[in-house]
Symmetry: C2
Subunit: 347 residues, 2 copies
């Protein structure tokens, strides 16, 4: 897969080999600057590096400016229908604006946004969604060619802004269908060097949406497609950030905090491994060091996995062995295993 080119969004680098950026979106009322800023800070504390805030009408511009000026991370405005709102967001200090030219309408409006972004040194995301395709492409989608319609839409707008000399943009081609999302992004990455914002749109609730997002975003990132990710869940956006980091950690692309390996229990398990793993997970939570910790209840793969992890427990029959960096450091009764593990980790 050819590498994408690099853009700036505020102080962040996106594309061109930069680490994949984690982003999310506030769901507070934007007009309530204090609540929105609280959520931005909460998201940033969870590792969200870029936050999108919707700007539905001109009434929220003042609050949006307030959020931008106090936010600990760059803020992108999400604007639809009215190009003037995008320009206002840029003038208020947004690091970028997300537009869907399909909802902006006339080309002149898009040009005004591009001019304002260039003048402000800001970036754009041009996001084409299956749910809001321009008419001719909707017809293509209605014939079953949704991925092709998304890619054509994105490339059409990309050509347009590049004709105007604007390069500080990224593209997205989200669909609520995971196979369509994968197909569209793969095709787009083959045909373009523009950095890509990847995600599955309207993925669903915390449980089902997490799985859809992990499959879709994961399949793309596994092949090097995607420069920034947003997990879309119906729920608390903080959970979106946690899921995004877990996807990156699963692929060993980036890690924030510990990685827990724990075996599924089976008829061979002789200890209460579910409780043991849950307790270890709970106590690892506050750590932000990238450690791998194995909690194994099995004589088959246990000792080997525990030996390979930074720290590990291999438990069986009322007692267990604690490993640190490949060496046995303690053999203790089951009820002292967690303590012994954390003594090793913290020691």
């Amino acid at each position: 897969m050819p590498s994408s080119r690099q853009i700036h969004v505020g102080n962040l680098l996106i594309g061109g080999g930069a680490p994949v950026v984690v982003q999310s979106m506030t769901n507070t009322t934007t007009g309530d600057a204090a609540a929105t800023l609280d959520q931005v800070r909460e998201l940033a504390a969870e590792g969200c590096e870029l936050v999108r805030v919707s700007l539905p009408t001109g009434d929220e511009v003042e609050a949006f400016a307030e959020v931008v000026s106090h936010a600990p991370v760059p803020i992108v405005a999400d604007v639809h229908f009215d190009w003037r709102l995008a320009v206002a967001a840029l003038e208020a200090g947004a690091a970028g604006v997300r537009i869907n030219p399909g909802t902006i309408g006339a080309e002149r409006g898009v040009l005004e946004i591009v001019r304002a972004a260039a003048a402000c040194g800001a970036a754009l995301r041009i996001g084409v969604n299956a749910g809001s395709l321009p008419k001719d492409l909707r017809a293509l989608a209605d014939r079953g060619e949704t991925a092709a319609a998304l890619v054509e839409g994105a490339l059409r707008y990309a050509s347009l802004v590049e004709e105007w000399g604007f390069l500080e943009y990224k593209l997205s081609v989200k669909s609520s269908s995971v196979p369509e999302t994968i197909a569209a992004y793969r095709a787009l990455a083959e045909r373009s060097e523009v950095p890509l914002h990847v995600g599955v749109t309207e993925a669903g609730t915390a449980w089902g949406g997490t799985i859809k997002s992990a499959v879709g975003i994961g399949a793309l990132l596994a092949d090097g497609v995607g420069d920034t990710v947003r997990v879309s869940l119906t729920g608390d956006p903080v959970e979106e950030v946690r899921v995004a980091w877990q996807i990156l950690a699963a692929l060993e692309l980036r890690r924030r905090g510990p990685n827990l390996i724990s075996c599924p229990t089976c008829g061979r398990t002789e200890v209460d491994l579910v409780a043991l793993a849950a307790e270890v997970e709970r106590r690892l939570q506050p750590l932000s060091v990238p450690l791998t910790v194995a909690v194994m209840g099995c004589r088959v793969n246990g000792p080997e996995e525990a030996r390979h992890a930074d720290f590990g427990i291999a438990a069986g029959s009322g007692e267990g062995v604690v490993f640190a960096h490949g060496r046995k450091v303690a053999t203790v009764p089951e009820d002292e295993l967690v303590e012994a593990l954390f003594r090793a980790i913290e020691g």
Copy 2:
């Protein structure tokens, strides 16, 4: 990706274009036949089509036979260290045995298992795990070539059993590292037509392990690699089955029950969409029909997504529109939306 060949495991077809089979493993004490059988039935009721049961010692053979004879789905025995246990499981009616020749040891033991499987018309899974590689391959893994070591291990045993004329087997090359798992299965699928059992081993707890599994299994299935899947979670195996089905549904490979599309809330959302989506998800739960239902709180993508789904809600500003098969069927106040949606679904 070349298609795999097809094998039988009990009454199931695996590989060669058959639907991807969902499997899991009991975590009851196998010696407790009643508890194990209860769990097998519970798993089957959730859509688990093949259940693995560990057989740690000869003491559990009688209970294992009892489980096999009453189980509503084929049972595979999980055996390590002692080939006699595998033979006993086959004689007890197991539809298959999962072995890791690395833990069985001497080639003669493996031959005895293959002979017994052939005599019983049963299948084998030859599963090589990063945690239990034979010594020479462990050395390769220790040099950082784990995926290659897994593939070499699997192909070595595959050659062995094929020399003995045995073809009713599948392979697995699981690692607790997602990138290693993806790399190993992709390489194996390139080099072999044997059906593949895919999964990420020791993926972790219900939350983190679900994401790792969705990324790893999803990336493989997205490219057609994988004929049967097992999600490994430290927890209730019923959750493994639900996650497996959600991965298959996300990729539109198979579907069990409804598919919910719901938008992440944002500053534009004017209704309590999280509550609305949760209520719709709860009421869809008992349905096993493959419906797509969209719950949208957004004027931007809402109506289009709701129109494309089988049934949908597009809500905004205290009221919403219900769609059925692309047509508006009702406009009702927010608090009547769920009722109106289910009237349309059940109508």
